[in-house]
Symmetry: C2
Subunit: 334 residues, 2 copies
């Protein structure tokens, strides 16, 4: 239905090869001819078919981005950064959600392949270690962002979880806390293991023995955190501070504490991880570890472009988080 190069050729009385050249501003075509052809194309509302072009150039100028959910504000920022640098080079983004389901992740990666995207970006990849080879064997370049399987995958960029949680825990130690709890995510999440390791590191460095009763699992969301706090309060020694796996957990903790009449930060200091957009607006505003999401998106896209350009790119780049001190933490009252 849309007008093609042939229609224009007929109208202009030239061959379609000439039209193609004129539209590409080929130096071979004299300006007069080129302008005439361009005018006709304009009049006819011609829009080149990227599909046809891709078939011959073997480039789609499109990259596939797979995230767990686009509704997650974390991914929103990430994709924004990706889009920004993709657009600078005229690339489009094909978005797909994995729903944090490994099978679906593989399926959407496959769909990206069918569309012949030039490269793929996967955030929070959850395919099990068994499937990692499948990803590696794709003949399209792929880079992972904060992947959840520990494996040192082909190319990836990730936040330094150990370092970040150590920062948060050290902050709590410096405030004088010693009974510091850790509320994690569900079992098996690589990032949770790493953050827990950072928590342990800081405790060790501070000569504080690890108290298993103060280590507990949430679910990465507010609800799980509320339940975790209830459980935490049954421990013989009450924590005066808690380092949370992420901001949503911290928010749930604070919410529940307030319901129980426990003042934050006066009676309980709480740290988060992520620095989601609302962390600054909660009451009290959240002390947390900022992940430079947008920048991570940009960086991942740059890495992918480097790969596409055939450059020798580093395999993994690790990004540091930053401690943002706000109002949810306070010195231990003595």
């Amino acid at each position: 239905m849309p007008v093609s190069i042939k229609d224009i050729a007929r109208l202009a009385g030239v061959s379609h090869s000439t039209v193609s050249r004129a539209l590409h501003k080929s130096p071979l075509i004299p300006p007069a001819t080129a302008q005439k052809i361009q005018r006709i194309a304009e009049e006819q509302g011609y829009t080149a078919s990227a599909i046809a072009r891709s078939l011959v150039t073997r480039r789609t100028q499109a990259i596939g981005v797979v995230v767990t959910s686009i509704a997650d504000p974390f991914n929103g920022d990430l994709v924004d950064g990706i889009e920004e640098v993709a657009n600078q080079r005229g690339y489009s983004v094909i978005l797909a959600t994995s729903q944090a389901d490994p099978d679906r992740e593989l399926a959407v990666v496959r769909s990206c392949q069918e569309r012949r995207v030039d490269g793929i970006l996967v955030a929070s990849s959850r395919v099990g270690a068994l499937y990692v080879p499948i990803l590696s064997e794709l003949d399209v370049p792929i880079v992972l962002i904060n992947n959840q399987h520990g494996s040192d995958f082909a190319h990836s960029i990730r936040i330094d979880n150990v370092h970040g949680m150590r920062l948060a825990t050290e902050h709590l130690l410096q405030l004088g806390h010693t009974e510091i709890a850790y509320v994690g995510d569900r079992f098996g999440l690589h990032s949770d293991e790493e953050r827990f390791a950072g928590y342990q590191d800081a405790l060790n460095a501070g000569q504080i023995p690890l108290n298993r009763r103060l280590t507990i699992r949430g679910d990465g969301k507010a609800d799980g955190a509320a339940a975790a706090l209830d459980q935490l309060l049954t421990a013989p020694t009450k924590p005066t501070a808690v380092a949370s796996y992420n901001d949503m957990t911290a928010l749930g903790l604070i919410h529940r504490a307030q319901e129980l009449g426990i003042a934050v930060p006066e009676e309980l200091s709480v740290t988060g991880f992520d620095d989601i957009p609302f962390a600054a607006f909660t009451r009290p505003p959240l002390t947390t570890i900022r992940q430079p999401r947008r920048e991570m998106g940009r960086e991942a896209m740059r890495l992918l472009f480097a790969l596409l350009d055939g450059e020798e790119a580093q395999k993994t780049s690790v990004i540091n988080g930053e401690l943002i001190v706000r109002g949810s933490t306070a010195p231990l009252p003595r």
Copy 2:
């Protein structure tokens, strides 16, 4: 580079037509042959080229989605709903951001056209009335979501802004407030005009005269809201309640009020609009008008599919928001 139908044909000793048929499970091909071909395809890691297929079928099974910014949680939910129903029918989503810039919006729509998407969804379209014809003349079906030009565009789905803000204002009136301020967005936003109209409607119905000193502009964000509150407090009659254009404005208002030692909701009731994910987590939690974002995304996608299926679809569907009463509003103390 990827293996093609021809490679498989050679390996299987058949023509590429037969391979094509076998891979599509055509009833023409006997099971034995089909299985053999499928096995070879599997072994060779064959992935069909959607590009080549699209060229002949004239369908890409892709739809273009243009939003102002994907980092905006509002759009995140919307896109999630879109993706959900798109995926059910095997469609992919090509995402593009307009940055709320009309020129860029037109550019990305054009890029979607080049990619020969089967349809286009545009959220919060901001192209001026002058450009609306350009959108209407596309030969690809397009549906708009909450478009910002008042024009009754081809096909669209939108929240009923007048109704929503009337709901919020009526709620305030019922609590006994009479000095109710309105803090809007910047000048010229269609949705702001509509919400303001809803505010006026409720006031009229309640026999409350409109007080211009209580009508003020924010910028749709927390910062602008803080400034707006400062200005509001210089008015001769202080408001006891304020209806805000959106949640971010309400949050900024509450934040600033608390800084100034004004208790919310005891001394000042505040309503929002949108019901962003965090509205339930602020202190006090926000009374607001919920926009069913995900459902709106689903509905828009369904409308687009109806168009693609050649069905007679309604032109505009208007969705009602819902009043969610939480803690930021209280009866006027007497």
